[in-house]
């Protein structure tokens, strides 16, 4: 699978219907090629508000960073986000639009094994910076910390299938505006 980000900008409106959208608050996308990520991004963006945490789980090579690259592009980040595994946190300024959010934090918990290792990263404080949204890779490593955050969360779980085809399950706060009281499962 090629990793170059496609140069086609997102067009407002029309997006292909996700594969399954029956269950409330759960949407599943089927991804065959790189540009399919744009559909997922398009689906996610209206659900974002300042403080939202997007938890991305999936095995090594599933496409978590690729998703963040597409998201960043759609949100107007000029540079291409690189893997934050080494530096743990990277921050991007979003192109100023008429509405929030204004800052994207890309966090990778791949190398973090204990919640207390997070303390020096000051994630809580970073999240309170106005207009910040956070994309978190390997949330299962810091599950306890994540569950304690009052922020809105969207869970994206990517599964790899044979012949380079993926499914991407999105769980979390169901429809825009409505507050789901149901605790989101670690999708």
């Amino acid at each position: 699978m090629k990793t170059e980000t496609p140069s086609i900008p997102l067009v407002r409106g029309k997006f292909l219907a996700p594969l399954i959208r029956g269950v409330r608050g759960v949407s599943v996308f089927r991804l065959k090629k790189l540009s399919d990520w744009d559909q997922v991004v398009k689906f996610i963006i209206p659900k974002l508000k300042p403080g939202t945490i997007i938890a991305l789980s999936g095995p090594l090579g599933a496409g978590k960073t690729t998703f963040v690259q597409h998201l960043a592009k759609a949100l107007g980040v000029r540079s291409t986000p690189r893997s934050p595994t080494f530096s743990l946190v990277r921050s991007y300024r979003l192109h100023p639009t008429s509405y929030m959010p204004t800052r994207l934090l890309h966090v990778d918990a791949y190398r973090i094994e204990h919640t207390h290792d997070l303390t020096p990263l000051n994630l809580q404080e970073e999240l309170t910076v106005p207009g910040t949204i956070m994309a978190l890779e390997w949330p299962e490593n810091i599950k306890k910390w994540l569950m304690n955050q009052p922020n809105k969360k969207i869970f994206i779980s990517i599964k790899l299938h044979p012949r380079n085809f993926r499914t991407c399950k999105i769980t979390g706060d169901a429809e825009e505006g409505s507050r789901s009281r149901r605790k989101p499962s670690d999708g």
Binding site: E4, L60, G61, T80, S83, S87, I112, H116
Partner: protein, 355 residues
Amino acid sequence: MKRFRILAIETSCDETAVSIVEFTKARNFTKIRNHTIRVVKNLVSSQIPIHQKYGGVVPEVAARSHVPEVVSLLTLALGKQNMSAFDAIAVTRGPGLVTALRVGIEGARVLAFLSKKPIIGVNHLEGHLASAWLNATNRKHWKFPLLALIVSGGHTELVLMKNFCDYKIIGQTRDDAAGEAFDKSAKLMGLPYPGGPQIAKLAKNGDPNAFDLPRPMWKDPSLDFSFSGLKTAVRNEWEKVTRTREHENTRTKIDFAASIQQAIVDVLVEKTIRAAKQFTVSGILLVGGVSANEELRRQMAEKIKQELTGVAFLPSDKTYITDNAAMIAAAGYWRLMKGERHDWKKMDADPEWNV
């Protein structure tokens, strides 16, 4: 000729390092051949034994162990001479982990305040570039413009050096670093941390063409790299191998490791050669942790000999490949010679700093 000693502190990631390097000041800075360098002390306290347990660098652990280490290393380096052991201080300001960087910076600031000697904050990547300069033969062939390939766990960058302190990044990774590609591929194969040396060790007698892995960004005209697609390909291939239970076979493992290594090395060498042709450089630097890889060194040297006549190959010494403070001293020297100084009162870490 005057002797000039720089005390350098480096704590950007998992290594705590302190070094004292003596430079014999030449009257004319541009006449590089006149410089003599003597590394008086080069102390590195590798924290790998602690990190192995966690399978990575954990900032809290890193920062916590930097504190006692930096003090004991400084005591060792300065010895009885104390403040008279150095004439200036160089310290890594970024990029790296903020918490870890701050330990070194605070130490350097205190020393600068007490000794009233000049202090300079150095970019870690510039330090890597300077690591090649520590080698006397490299200095002899040092002629700008130069091209540098920095490859490590967190970086994969092609840097065009027009002069000292005048750089331009002409290519870099779009996702994972080369060292990360090694480490994560090793993890997928079930090898222990750090994965790079493990793969190199296994690959020694393997067949690099046994498995068909992609060469990402090969056809792309830019000088950028990408290794995340390779990671996915490694995963798919390895799953095929596991399904047939072939993964218990040592031969298969060796061949697989060799194929991974070759895929990464191929791309690194090819893009470097392309860049060298495009910018007509007179030398190529190979620096950073991954440059310890024997195959990368060998194939790079071979390709340069074949395709670029008259271009010098300048890899850094094995001693200065991984993070160390001697290279920070050398980069600090470049900056100090240009007249740059920092104010210790205002200095702070810069975790996202680019050269």
